[in-house]
């Protein structure tokens, strides 16, 4: 792999806090190595800003290995940037070339208020989980793990849905700021497993109710969520969610 160095222009959203108006600022970043991650490039810019007496750009990040779901950012109009199936922290600078101008914004949705610069609050997701995204089992009551065999295909599908990292890219990608992909991933994960069966109906109804209450938009099947999801969660989960919801609301007990 050939490595190279580049000079970039960054147009970045700056906003002091949730109450103040935000705006774009433009920065030059020089000698960026193609081996850096996108966040390491911002680290370099931040060090430069501090050295010049300015304030660094605030952004969410933690594990930097694509699993915690903390990093966000819309890069050139795409949540988590140009690479498919990749979080911002795993995006590397070889995706860009010398002289590129890159626009960086926070995830934008009414349900995700900006905290500062590129940081947003995604606590709405926690509240959706609180509404029913679990199996009601207290510690200590479990039967042997192998007492209940589960078809491998179902277990694999449940895992694929459970791989959601709760980053919110699906919401940021959607023109309606819908959270359907996130909600459907959790509903699918638990609906596919026998452990989720007893609360199956009330779970989907309650989680959808909370989703609406948080101010997320409706799903109009554009599949932008799937296209931008860093974990490539399938929109088939949304189909399953709709089926689950209909089943729960239309069928008699």
């Amino acid at each position: 792999m050939q490595h190279y160095s580049m000079n970039l222009k960054l147009k970045v959203w700056r906003q002091r806090n949730v109450n103040e108006q935000g705006h774009f600022e433009t920065y030059d970043v020089e000698n960026v190595s193609s081996e850096m991650s996108f966040l390491e490039m911002i680290d370099v810019l931040n060090e430069q800003l501090i050295a010049k007496g300015g304030e660094p750009i605030a952004f969410d990040h933690d594990c930097r290995e694509g699993i915690c779901g903390m990093c966000s950012m819309v890069i050139d109009g795409r949540p988590h940037g140009p690479w498919k199936g990749t979080t911002t922290c795993q995006l590397h600078m070889r995706a860009f070339k010398d002289g590129d101008k890159i626009t960086v914004e926070p995830f934008r949705a009414n349900a995700f208020p900006v905290i500062k610069d590129l940081m947003v609050s995604r606590s709405a997701f926690d509240r959706i989980i609180q509404a029913g995204g679990y199996v009601s089992v207290n510690t200590g009551n479990a039967v042997d793990g192998n007492a209940l065999p589960i078809e491998k295909d179902k277990a694999d599908d449940a895992f694929a849905a459970a791989a959601c990292i709760g980053c919110g890219a699906c919401v940021a990608a959607c023109k309606n700021a819908s959270a359907m992909l996130f909600v459907s991933a959790k509903v699918s994960h638990l609906a596919l497993l026998p452990q989720g069966e007893p609360e199956r109906k009330q779970r989907v109804v309650n989680m959808i109710a909370q989703m609406d209450k948080e101010g997320f938009g409706s799903c109009t099947n554009t599949y932008a969520c799937e296209a931008e999801c860093p974990k490539e969660i399938s929109v088939l989960n949304i189909a399953r969610l709709n089926r689950e919801y209909l089943d729960a609301t239309l069928s008699a007990d």
Partner: protein, 656 residues
């Protein structure tokens, strides 16, 4: 001398007897008792959820924006449990023995046996929560092998086991939040411990969004705040992982045990340049099927695929035929360093070895051919089928490697090198997980108790969940049973006022330094000192130098650090400055501890103490103890907890 309060009786009955005789708190009283849980990784989430279910009033804190993001989420390979589902000779005793031996005889027998006992309950609990573990076609749970064992006892969910277990615990936690038993405070960091009449009674937490300091009362405080690997700057830890909560407790009297026992993980993606902010682990599970090698000739420049079989040195298989590529982490890391130091390293930096999947791809490909009864097929088909199997087992790890390095590991061997990963040391706790401060507990990686001088793979998840789900719900009751008459202490109590003032003074002091150097630059320099002199190999001379250098760095930090922004707002640089200041103090203690321990054991390798063939040379006569350090007036005093091995006979660890 420290008393771990280990229950009497034979090893295998201690925990059962303890549970049968421990004091209980009745449900009406539980509702009146408040518990503070700091950190929401596997230990914290599982503890908060379980205690909430029992009826206690819990307040949980995490610095991330959601409890689901704690760094347990990044654990890849798996979780051990002595289920013996594979009928390959596993048992509670075997898991106990492997853990003690893997830890190089520096762990406490009673704790480790309890851990092995409850390991099976963890799997059952997680399955009941809907954790989607990997399964066989018959629908039963699948297992794989990890280092330092000869059985298959590791349960997993692809390379995302930590994620799935944490989501399970997080969902249990959110269920309690919905029920009102747990109050969750995300984006909060503990900055002071509050002690009243010798007992931990609360914390001062900083709201990271507004910068406000908040006072929180609790009848007991649980620190589930993870390890301190980020003292090295570069590690596989998350960027925010820190020692601050544990360090505040240490400064207030909690002993810090075995700080020099740090784990350098053998299979990580090598450093690529000065800009590097963190290192990425490639799961130990890859050593199940991958073969590690370097060229047999020094400085061999050929691309790996052009080096013929007979000119490769599979050095782990050569040195350790019985365990081969699955030796414990400390052994594998040192062996990699030895080869690289001797000039056999590969890649541009020469600080890397190969992890090769070519043989595994062929093996799996051939197995698929016979399983599907395909008869005579082309070599390309075999390779293709093999790659599909490898993709199913390790696909996410291979993808991650490719994203970071730009190289395709299905075609060329991965380049790997050891990196800081886990810290066995931590707050000293007794059998009940209580620190030396009454009412203050430490769970998971934040304590020191179960892994001795080296942790075996897939045991961190096991310990975090054991502590949270199955140990603390019992041991905490033993303390709280005597606290039912303690009313909630109002937070205008002088101890709260003073603790808040301390925290606020320190923040003011940090921000008013207004020097020239960034927090990041200090952290990098600290990391370099500790990595060079208290990393994979340590010596008396190096450690003494390191102590001097860290002390000088501390002085420089407190006179020249620059922190932009204000106090009463979201200010990540200020948060980081507080953490780095604590890491600097810890760095000194780590070197002191490493210097005091004149032996090599597990991850602690003193160059002066090695066998003729380069293995760690323990000194059981003099050092079979836990080193617990007490901080007094900015200096440290050593306390010792002798380790008594009743069952296992310590011997020179052999994986040959």
């Amino acid at each position: 001398m420290l008393d771990a309060k280990i229950p009497q009786g034979s090893l295998s009955e201690k925990w059962t007897k303890y549970k049968g005789s421990v004091k209980l708190v009745n449900p009406a009283n539980k509702r009146k008792l408040e518990i503070i849980v700091v950190g929401t990784g596997l230990a914290g989430s599982s503890a908060a959820a379980s205690l909430g279910e029992m009826g206690y009033k819990v307040k949980a804190f995490c610095f991330q924006d959601s409890p689901r993001r704690a760094h347990s989420i990044a654990a890849q390979g798996g979780i051990n449990a002595a289920k013996n589902y594979q009928n390959d000779g596993d048992s509670t005793y075997r898991l106990f023995y492997d853990t003690i031996k893997g830890g190089d005889y520096r762990a406490r027998e009673a704790n480790v046996h309890r851990l092995a006992e409850v390991s099976t309950n963890i799997i059952d609990q997680c399955v009941a929560q809907g954790v989607p573990f990997a399964r066989e076609y018959g629908g039963l749970l699948s297992n794989r092998s990890f280092g330092g064992t000869q059985v298959q006892r590791t349960f997993y969910a692809a390379g995302q086991t930590g994620q799935q277990l944490l989501i399970g615990a997080y969902q249990a936690l959110e269920r309690q939040v919905a029920l009102g038993t747990v109050q969750m405070h995300a984006r909060h960091e503990m900055v002071e411990l509050v002690i009243i009449d010798g007992k931990a009674r609360g914390i001062i937490a900083r709201n990271l969004v507004t910068g406000e300091l908040e006072r929180h009362f609790g009848h007991a405080v649980l620190l589930c705040t993870g390890g301190y690997g980020n003292v090295f700057y570069l590690s596989t830890n998350a960027m925010g992982s820190n020692v601050t909560a544990a360090w505040k407790a240490h400064r207030k009297g909690a002993h810090f045990a075995n700080p020099c026992f740090t784990q350098i993980h053998p299979t990580c993606i090598p450093v690529s340049g000065d800009h590097q902010s963190k290192l990425t682990l490639m799961s130990e599970s890859l050593r199940n099927d991958g073969r590690i090698w370097v060229p047999a000739k020094q400085g061999d420049q050929r691309p790996p695929n052009e080096i013929p079989e007979e000119e490769r040195d599979y050095y782990l298989e050569r040195r350790y035929p019985a365990f081969g590529n699955l030796v414990p982490r400390d052994v594998a890391s040192r062996a990699a360093k030895e080869r690289c130091d001797a000039g056999f390293g590969v890649g541009t930096s020469k600080q890397a070895v190969y992890l090769d999947y070519a043989a595994a791809i062929q093996r799996y490909g051939k197995a698929e051919v016979s399983k599907r009864n395909l008869g005579n097929v082309s070599p390309d088909t075999i390779t293709q089928l093999g790659k599909e199997v490898v993709k199913e087992k390790y696909g996410n790890l291979f993808n991650m490697y490719e994203k970071i390095t730009g190289e395709n590991p299905y075609e060329v061997p991965m380049r790997i090198y050891p990196a800081v990963h886990y810290t066995m040391g931590g707050l000293w706790v007794d059998y009940e997980l209580k620190t030396t401060i009454d009412g203050l507990y430490a769970l998971g990686e934040a304590n020191f108790s179960d892994h001795g001088a080296n942790r075996l793979g897939a045991s961190a998840l096991m310990q975090g969940l054991a502590d949270g789900y199955f140990v603390i719900p019992y041991t905490l009751g033993n303390y709280l049973a005597d606290e039912i008459r303690t009313n909630n202490i109002p937070t205008d109590h002088p101890a709260f006022v003073e603790a808040e003032k301390n925290a606020s003074d320190r923040i003011n002091k940090l921000i008013s330094i207004n020097g020239k150097q960034t927090v990041e630059s200090f952290h990098k320099r600290l990391g370099k000192i500790i990595w060079d002199k208290c990393g994979m190999a340590r010596s008396e001379k190096g450690l003494k130098q390191a102590i001097e250098e860290v002390r000088a760095l501390k002085k420089e930090f407190w006179s020249d650090v620059r922190i932009p922004g204000g106090i009463n707002e979201m200010n990540p640089e200020l948060d980081k400055a507080g953490r780095v200041a604590d890491f600097i103090e810890l760095g000194e203690l780590m070197c002191l501890d490493a210097l005091e321990r004149n032996e090599s054991c597990g991850g602690h390798f003193r160059e002066e103490f090695q066998t003729p063939d380069g293995e760690a040379l323990r000194d059981d006569e003099k050092y079979m103890y836990v080193a617990a350090w007490e901080m007094k007036d900015d200096n440290w005093q050593l306390h010792k907890e002798p380790l008594n091995y009743e069952i296992v006979k310590p011997s020179q660890r052999s994986y040959k």
